[in-house]
Symmetry: C2
Subunit: 216 residues, 2 copies
DNA sequence: GCCGAACCGTAACGTACGGTACGGCCAATC
DNA sequence: GATTGGCCGTACCGTACGTTACGGTTCGGC
């Protein structure tokens, strides 16, 4: 043991290692299928020996890659719970737009495909990691916003989890599954803005308190 | 090339061939990953030679399997467009429950995983077939219902496609992606009924005409 | 009863790929 | 300036799997 195994460690990869992981990501996006150790080594201009020394085995490399990309996405800012309806609307719309941007990005598509294929065999737990850093992470970040909205009398719901899942559905709709299955669905910046706004309006129509108590 | 190639033909597979395809499905569900030609032959009690004669190659076998399962699912009945709000509600709820049942079934999960993994490489078009017989097929079947609802003054929308996508999101929410990524999410009959009702109510809240002209 | 076709079971072949070993290069250390 | 350690490039090994080939068996038609 010992050595430089970054497999399951919480340690951050070195700059060189990050470059390798970026090579894995780019290869995943471009070639999709041909994610072989040899191809990674060639793309990253490193030897296979180094790959195995650093990441243990293929699974370790993939896990590290997923973690690395997750850390990059997670770098998003923390919204402060706000109180008036306009700020709530903006906050929700921001979440929606961010989420749509993420799930429609080539990197996310390739990564989710990989994790889903991995979930088919019961070897690794890439699926769990992706879920943890995607769907569940955004729920955790959105919950305080929703609950602050409820505190302020702007929203009405019993269970914040259920409310979140409705929002999730209104935002994502059929986008992710279509992209994963290879449908050529392009989301430009304009479409994302429009879809985010529509989803937010629909969510507020369902969960917003009618006639939000005029504070005057 | 004559012979019995059922690869891309529209012909229906023989009973024996159907048994083979069912073996593929069961193997896909149980073993997930180990979908090897040898395993299929063993499970179906047939020789590999026969597999190749009937389906051409591995890809042909997979394509035939997806088509076979699609034909089975497509056997659902055709709802007749109806006119009053109760019938519309029931129809929508029926669609929602059916869809939730399908996407949470082990067969659908395994099939979608396969098609998604296939979409990663650009060889075949299993993803297209699955989309065609899943997401797009249900849209085609639901559209007349939605438009009949609009004709009857029960629904209000500009674009039936947009309305459908909202309904799709309200029904599916995060269920499919979580299941595909290996999350242990079990949907019992009760949950499906409840979720279908909730999604339908929400959809009608968004797209239903307020105070649907009391006919008395 | 015989023939040929279809099919089963299994062995064999070629290739792709995960993992390992080794020789050479370069940079830091003494 | 020799030594040591980290790393690159590549050759190599074992295995898994798609695909093909072949001997044996069953069965319908003459």
């Amino acid at each position: 043991m010992s050595a430089t195994r970054n497999t399951a460690d919480t340690e951050e990869p070195t700059a060189r290692q990050q470059a390798v992981l970026d090579a894995v990501l780019s290869l995943m996006v471009e070639e999709g299928d041909q994610l072989t150790m040899t191809a990674v080594a060639r793309r990253a201009s490193c030897s296979k020996e180094t790959l195995y020394k650093w990441f243990g085995d293929r699974d370790g490399l993939l896990t590290a890659t997923v973690r690395w990309q997750a850390a990059r996405v997670r770098a998003g800012r923390y919204d402060r719970p706000t109180l008036d309806i306009a700020a709530l609307h903006d906050s929700l719309k921001g979440f929606a737009a961010t989420w749509l941007t993420v799930i429609s990005s080539p990197t996310s598509i390739a990564l989710n495909r990989l994790a889903i294929g991995d979930a088919a065999s019961r070897k690794s737990n890439l699926g769990r990691i992706v879920l943890e850093n995607g769907r569940f992470a955004i729920a955790e970040r959105l919950r305080p916003v929703l609950e602050a909205g409820r505190e302020a009398g702007l929203l009405a719901f019993d269970d914040s989890e259920t409310a979140f899942r409705t929002f999730f559905g209104l935002v994502g709709r059929d986008v992710q599954i279509r992209l994963l299955l290879g449908d050529s669905l392009t989301l430009g910046r304009g479409e994302i803005e429009r879809d985010a706004a529509r989803a937010t309006d629909q969510f507020l129509a369902l969960y917003g308190r009618k006639t939000a108590a005029p504070e005057a």
